[in-house]
């Protein structure tokens, strides 16, 4: 394994992914560059999935799609991207169930595949850290805790899902600042959707996340909940398409875009 420096560019990280010289989680790699969740679907259901993203922009903030079905580039996100190779690890889904893990998907690629790149919480976590706000999952060195909620996403075609949320605990004054900061980043989940009483979202136990790892809550903390990019994977589980491909969680597409460029002006 090659160490992927914080100081590398997105293009440099992708070059290592392309040859499978780098196959690890991308958290902390190419600091400042936008990283994306990836979903790849056949064209016949891609239209419905695009509609699902459009109707549910907080869990599914769509940053880019393939220019045409079968084209493995994503020119809106970077030069020379080849989505068949440029992620460290892939998941292959069959009828909504995880079937296989791969380091690239070149042999599986088809002329009717469409790739979707969705914004990721890494971008707003960087903005929070830059503002001096502690991000508990980062300071504790674990994956962010994520929970299935009782909130229905707006369905589109075969795609339906209860929203998945990520949770970051912090004191109320920092939560207010986090809401202000994240409001400027609608393309990476935007402002939190809830804080405080988890049972209002149908979450029973904050120490038992459905995905990721639990984190500590300090006495003055409130849990703050953001719409989460795992939601589209739940939509895939429900829709059970014959074939779908995604990134392995945490193993994102690193783009040429900068996080600061996602910020809307105040």
């Amino acid at each position: 394994m090659v160490a992927v420096a914080e100081s590398m560019s997105g293009e440099q990280v992708r070059a290592l992914c392309r040859t499978s010289a780098f196959t690890e989680p991308t958290s902390g790699a190419a600091r400042g560059y936008v990283q994306c969740n990836i979903v790849i679907l056949p064209a016949d259901i891609a239209k419905s999935f695009e509609e699902f993203c459009r109707l549910n922009p907080k869990p599914c903030p769509l940053l880019a799609t393939s220019p045409t079905p079968g084209d493995p580039s994503l020119p809106a996100l970077g030069t020379n991207i080849d989505i068949r190779y440029d992620i460290p690890r892939y998941r292959i889904w069959q009828k909504g169930a995880l079937a296989e893990h791969r380091l690239h998907i070149a042999e599986l690629w088809r002329d009717d595949f469409v790739a979707f790149a969705l914004g990721c919480s890494f971008s707003f976590e960087e903005a929070l850290l830059n503002a001096g706000i502690e991000v508990r999952n980062i300071s504790e060195g674990v994956n962010v805790p994520m929970f299935r909620t009782n909130l229905d996403c707006t369905p589109a075609g075969i795609f339906t899902a209860k929203m998945v949320v990520s949770m970051r605990p912090m004191p109320p004054a920092q939560a207010i600042e986090a809401i202000q900061i994240c409001s400027r980043y609608p393309s990476v989940h935007g402002a939190p959707i809830h804080f405080g009483d988890a049972s209002q979202l149908g979450i029973e136990d904050l120490s038992q996340p459905d995905f990721g790892d639990p984190v500590s809550l300090n006495e003055d903390d409130v849990p703050v909940f953001w719409a989460c990019g795992v939601t589209p994977q739940v939509a895939l589980e429900n829709a059970q398409p014959a074939l779908a491909m995604t990134h392995e969680p945490g193993h994102m597409l690193v783009t040429d875009l900068k996080n600061v460029d996602l910020a809307e002006d105040r």
Copy 2:
């Protein structure tokens, strides 16, 4: 008493105040126009008070001051304002204690008086209502509940104060939206400073406000706390200047500015 229509302009309301044809609270009058808290001080301590406002912009958002000591106009806020007459009711303070109520202060006016106009929560309450957010004190027809906190303002000269906050209960999702909206209005107290556990501010009982009236909290509500324009009156109580004048609470200066013009662009 003359009814002060919602549809009047700021200048029309002031014209009625000038002759004491209108002496009631200004809430609901001249909808859309900015209303201000007023503090009038002798020039020798005005500089310190201005500094106090500059250092504590959330409780004391300074919108305008007299052009020169003794000048009763406030041209930054409207044409033809005469601060000696244009508020429905005044309070006269001596050595930090409320000494007298008046309908105008022309006989007391001196060449060394400086008027300070501070932003008021009416402006952001209008923005919240326009966004479909229930403002509990308005729907229950009472004065907003206000509480003394354990938060120290930054002192300036003789002026010191624990911050006073106003409290509006709402469900978390609306609180997030309220934070987003109020962040755009820094000149009228801006974003809330706290939500949730009142004891973190040193508040013991939300049903016993120090100023104003209690309001109902529904089951899914969290209390949301904003820095409050009563804070400068606490600073006056502490500083005990020989003479000071303020508006009677709720009886504000109605200006020619529009609330929408206070909004910072997103």
